[in-house]
Amino acid sequence: MELYGVKIGSRLLLGTAQYPSPAILADAVRASGAEILTVSLRRESGRLREGQDFWGLIAGLNVKVLPNTAGCHSVKEAVTTAQMAREVFGTNWLKLEVIGEADTLQPDVFGLVEAARILTEDGFEVFPYTTEDLVVAERLIDAGCKVLMPWGAPIGTGMGLNNVYGLRSLRAHFPDVPLVVDAGIGKPSHAAAALELGYDAVLLNTAVAKAGDPVAMAGAFKLAVEAGRSAYLADPIEPRDMAAPSTPVFGRASLA
């Protein structure tokens, strides 16, 4: 998988919030095999320099950091946070979140497109957290995004892939754009399902961080993502309405 020209081995991207402790976060990351961690500037530190201890710990995990703008509700807020993040983490990568609605944390897709355009022009490589809306996806590509990250379900709900049809058509519509299901994944089977649909990767946080045993769950997601990808490449059968016997009926004993 290639994201903005960088070859990435693992198709599992993890968040860094809500873990019982940084030690468990580190163990979970190692168990997951994830090579990209997303880190929030707003949520995990009030102001820049004071969060260095935690970020230093993440840097020590030898992963690529994908800073995010979680918690930003306006274009201006997101752009400012992105610029701060670039300074702190020294990367042009950015997971762009512009939240439009407080209860569902649904992206404000209008603000998202605008912020994506501003940030791309400013040299950022934007990973937009979006819905599965095709037209919005088109606009994000127009704005310069080379990766799309549609939600599976609202952040933290663990409901899995809420609109499989929408995700499937997005995949079909953008065969060459790396697509990452971001948010809503609750169980490894959800992650496997996303990969089986042909999605390039999944990004998740709560499902691992808030699991009873985050390290074991990280390992389970690693296997699920690998299984889903292998299944996609193996060309799964199409579902059908009528039963099709897997054992030949020809030559059965006739009792009539």
Binding site: S21, P22, I24, G46, E50, G51, F54, L57, G156, G212
Partner: protein, 337 residues
């Protein structure tokens, strides 16, 4: 009789005072050095909730909190007044009932309650919650009263506190030094980090709780601890930051919204205090008691200052004076001699 061991304790927060009292009780000659002008001025334990709630904390903490919490539940009532053992009540808004189920799966030593059970424990919450969890063995105290209690206990044992003294462990006097400076001792521990917490104290006479109440919410881990005179402590945020400025608006709004969701009467409560401080924490969020030469370090108490300091104080006293049982034997031998 052998000469008293002279021990200097750095820091008069909860770690320093529990350690000083434990040492003095075992016969040491204890001096506490505190950079502030009074107990609590620079201590993050001044902002603590004061919950002795090991079984609830186990939801997100390692098993060690249970053992250390057991020590605390015995230690505090035998050292200070005002420890209330009325348990902890955990509730969740109806739409977050899944959070309650999750909390129950991760914890033990609780009774599951229905709405009537919640109301029987806390009549002011009647009709507000359809289910809850009750952890009957837990307790709470007023951290500020408890620190003051330890201060006088130490004085009664012949120990004393020198205020306005900034000291480093290496240069401090005494046969042994126990460094309990928390985040201020950061230079001694490369992996010590700060976890910022914000809290409020409000006053209302319209509600009375017998025990701490935790309101589960997927975004804010919120609790209310009742104190004397109609005061309630509302806490607390957990932010990966060592920043010391006052509470930010977003955090205060979140805490107040949660209080209002727990009971609308909090909407009319008077805001008495807002405060923010930085908890010292190691990567596993568990404390350490480390001895290097003459100096023993107690640090990393994180959000478990009152819960885990008695166990740390014992370990520190063991490190300085030898294990307790041994010293009893030594006493008996001395008396026989």
């Amino acid at each position: 009789m052998a000469a008293q061991t002279r021990v200097t304790v750095l820091g008069a927060g909860v770690a320093g005072l529990t350690t000083a009292v434990e040492l003095a009780e075992r016969g040491a000659n204890v001096t506490v050095l505190e950079r502030g002008s009074r107990v609590g001025e620079h201590a993050c334990s001044w902002s603590a909730g004061g919950m002795l709630a090991p079984w609830c904390e186990r939801e997100s903490a390692e098993e060690a909190v249970i053992e250390g919490g057991g020590v605390a539940l015995n230690w505090w009532p035998s050292h200070v007044d005002g420890v209330v053992r009325q348990g902890t009540l955990v509730v969740a808004p109806a739409r977050d009932n899944a959070e309650l189920a999750r909390f129950a799966r991760r914890t033990s030593r609780f009774e599951a309650l229905d709405g009537e059970g919640v109301a029987a424990l806390e009549p002011d919450l009647a009709g507000r919650f359809r289910s809850g969890l009750f952890f009957p063995d837990e307790a709470h105290l007023d951290p500020r009263a408890a620190l003051a209690g330890l201060e006088s206990r130490l004085a009664a044992l012949g120990g004393h506190i020198r205020f306005g003294v900034e000291a480093e462990a290496d240069s401090a006097e005494g046969d042994a030094v126990v460094d309990c400076r928390g985040f201020a001792a950061r230079a001694e521990f490369p992996d010590l980090r700060g976890v910022r917490g914000e809290m409020l104290v409000v006053r209302t006479r319209e509600i009375a709780f017998q025990r701490p109440v935790r309101l589960l919410h997927p975004r804010i881990p919120f609790y209310v601890v009742p104190r004397a005179d109609g005061l309630f402590m509302l806490g607390a945020t957990m932010i990966e930051s060592a920043e010391r400025r006052g509470p930010v608006v977003r955090s205060v709004v979140d805490l107040l919204n949660a209080a209002y969701a727990l009971h609308p009467a909090f909407g009319e409560a008077e805001i008495v205090e807002t405060r923010a401080d930085v908890r010292p924490a190691f990567p596993d969020n568990l404390p350490r008691v480390d001895t290097r030469g003459r100096v023993t370090y107690v640090n990393g108490l994180y959000r478990h200052g009152f819960l885990l300091s008695p166990a740390c104080a014992r370990a520190a006293a063991d490190a300085v004076l030898g294990p307790k049982e041994m010293s009893h034997e030594a006493d008996r031998e001395r008396r026989r001699a």
